[in-house]
């Protein structure tokens, strides 16, 4: 699955996107955030407060309780500041 990162999530992780194979234990958005957080210091820094991270599944806003299902692309980013 493809993960894409924006703004300070991208800067802290040090990648704009990557392909990952999710462990079978990851089924919800919340599971994904907690799993990513264990992947190293940069992830720990980016996801220190997972509750503030906004997530989109296949380019649609998602809640942390939502299931990932067969998503192709999941995006992680800070609260949006456009306009």
């Amino acid at each position: 699955m493809k993960l894409v990162y924006f703004a300070w999530v991208r800067e802290r992780i040090g990648l704009s996107e990557e392909e990952v194979a999710l462990p079978a234990s990851v089924s919800s958005v919340r599971d994904l955030l907690l799993w990513l957080k264990t992947r190293g210091e940069t992830y720990e820094h980016a996801l220190q407060y997972p509750e503030v991270i906004r997530v989109a599944i296949d380019q649609e806003h998602a809640e942390h309780g939502d299931l990932i299902g067969d998503a192709r692309e999941i995006a992680l980013f800070p609260p949006m500041t456009g306009g």
Binding site: F6, A56, Q59, G82, G83
Partner: protein, 160 residues
């Protein structure tokens, strides 16, 4: 015929007069056009520019969802949303929202609705570039922007 919103994410500036002309030409039923433009603001001479980042694809899609919701809620004849990305200096345009309708209230309300949802639901992020050229960090989202959505609380079509 259903109204197709005009949605553009671009680096280039936009011309408000030109966008009004495009939205209204050949539509004599339009009696009111409201445009809102958001500009890059410098509080006290500390800012060289903003760097606007977006999520290509989702940005256009999210704006499209918001525009379609506005078209369902008000009798609008035209909706245009243009959001710039990249480096934008103080005084330059960042965003244009245009709503046109037979009467003024729908145009005012439609434009305000579009702008309120754009702020919190469209995937754009602003980074500050300080006057000395250094990285000034990312702009924090404002609680007041989330609160602004509450006045449109009857909106079922837009995901929270």
């Amino acid at each position: 015929m259903s109204v197709q919103p005009v949605i553009r994410v671009q680096r280039a500036d936009f011309d408000i007069a030109r966008e009004i002309e495009i939205a209204t030409s050949g539509r004599p039923e339009i009696g009111a056009v409201v445009t809102f433009s958001g500009l890059c603001r410098d509080d006290g001479g500390t800012l060289a520019a903003l760097e606007l980042e977006h999520y290509p694809g989702m940005a256009e899609r999210a704006i499209g969802d918001i525009a379609r919701e506005a078209l369902q809620r008000w009798p609008l004849n035209a909706v245009t949303v243009i959001h710039r990305v990249g480096r934008i200096a103080p005084g330059e345009n960042i965003v244009l929202v245009l709503a046109a309708s037979p009467h003024r209230q729908a145009a005012f309300d439609g434009a305000a609705f579009l702008m309120d949802f754009l702020k919190s639901k469209a995937p754009f992020w602003k980074k500050l570039i300080a006057a000395d050229g250094s990285d000034g960090g990312w702009v924090d989202a404002k609680e007041s922007d989330d609160k602004a959505l509450q006045r449109w609380s009857a909106s079922e079509g837009i995901k929270r």
